[in-house]
Symmetry: C2
Subunit: 179 residues, 2 copies
């Protein structure tokens, strides 16, 4: 894994800006400034605003795959279940500063307007739903756990950080799975 390229740094800046300021305030100038390049420099790497969005969506796809692979590896090693991994990374404070969580929040914020972002969000959610269903052996249970994570994401979008559920997600999970 090489050190971050200029392209990566620009996508970082884009995600940062969407998360902290919101999608409507995203301008090429603002993203360029945050990335430490000029507008012209940005447009050399991404020929248009749409290409910049595509860059972020590609990153989310990659991170989703990696995150699911990590969950599967942990489950195989007996460290924690996939459901455990999923809720922990959705609810726990330190994990919510992860690249994946932040990028996902950015995509969801943009999804309100950009159908391409909405499609990427749906694909990511569906992928998690599939592994959760596979592990629990029941589609409704898998969807239930997935929906809890989704609810936590919605609250993140609305700026809500701490609720009983995010504090005690492990208690909740034990109740749902009956163990």
């Amino acid at each position: 894994m090489p050190r971050p390229s200029q392209r990566d740094r620009i996508v970082d800046a884009y995600v940062d800006h969407v998360v902290s300021e919101g999608p409507e305030t995203v301008t090429l100038d603002a993203v360029a400034a945050r990335a430490g390049v000029s507008k012209g420099g940005l447009l050399y790497h991404f020929g248009s605003k749409e290409a910049l969005l595509a860059g972020m969506l590609e990153r989310v796809r990659v991170l989703t795959e990696a995150d699911i692979a990590a969950a599967r590896a942990a489950a195989a090693a007996g460290t924690e279940t996939v459901a455990h991994y999923y809720l922990r990374t959705s609810a726990d404070d330190p994990d919510r500063d992860s690249d994946f969580f932040r990028a996902m929040v950015a995509v969801l914020k943009v999804a309100g307007t950009e159908e391409a972002a909405a499609a990427t969000a749906r694909a990511s959610m569906a992928a998690w739903h599939a592994v959760l269903t596979e592990e629990t052996g029941d589609e409704l249970t898998g969807d239930l756990i997935a929906a809890l994570g989704d609810g936590i994401y919605l609250r993140a979008i609305a700026g809500e950080r701490s609720t009983p559920l995010t504090r005690d997600w492990d208690v909740t999970l034990r109740r749902l799975l009956g163990n």
Copy 2:
């Protein structure tokens, strides 16, 4: 309840546009056209774009109160529990075309950028959380049911309509409450 005023019709158009086209494409022109007035006409009723947003937020506050009152009335009459009402109106297809659901989705879409909208969304979510906790007698259970509804809203934002959970929300609810 008088027939809809011009102001109401403009707020309707605003909600419609945000839900179907997304917040970034909202222009005074587009909203005015949808409401059947000119841009100048719109600006007579709402002096600025911000005032228009405030009008929608006010509507969501009113509809939230009314919706919660309806849930309480149904519970008092023994028709259905508050939790039942909440999940039904979040999950069932016909209810999702209700004024409240649509307005809430619009507010959540805008919440990504506008802090005022995010605050209204948080207030509405907190109000539901409170009644659900009151009914179930347990904060975590109340929050769990609220989070399921929130997850359904997130999926609505991402354009996902039907999942196992939205189809079988009543089965899920029985499992959560253990009856």
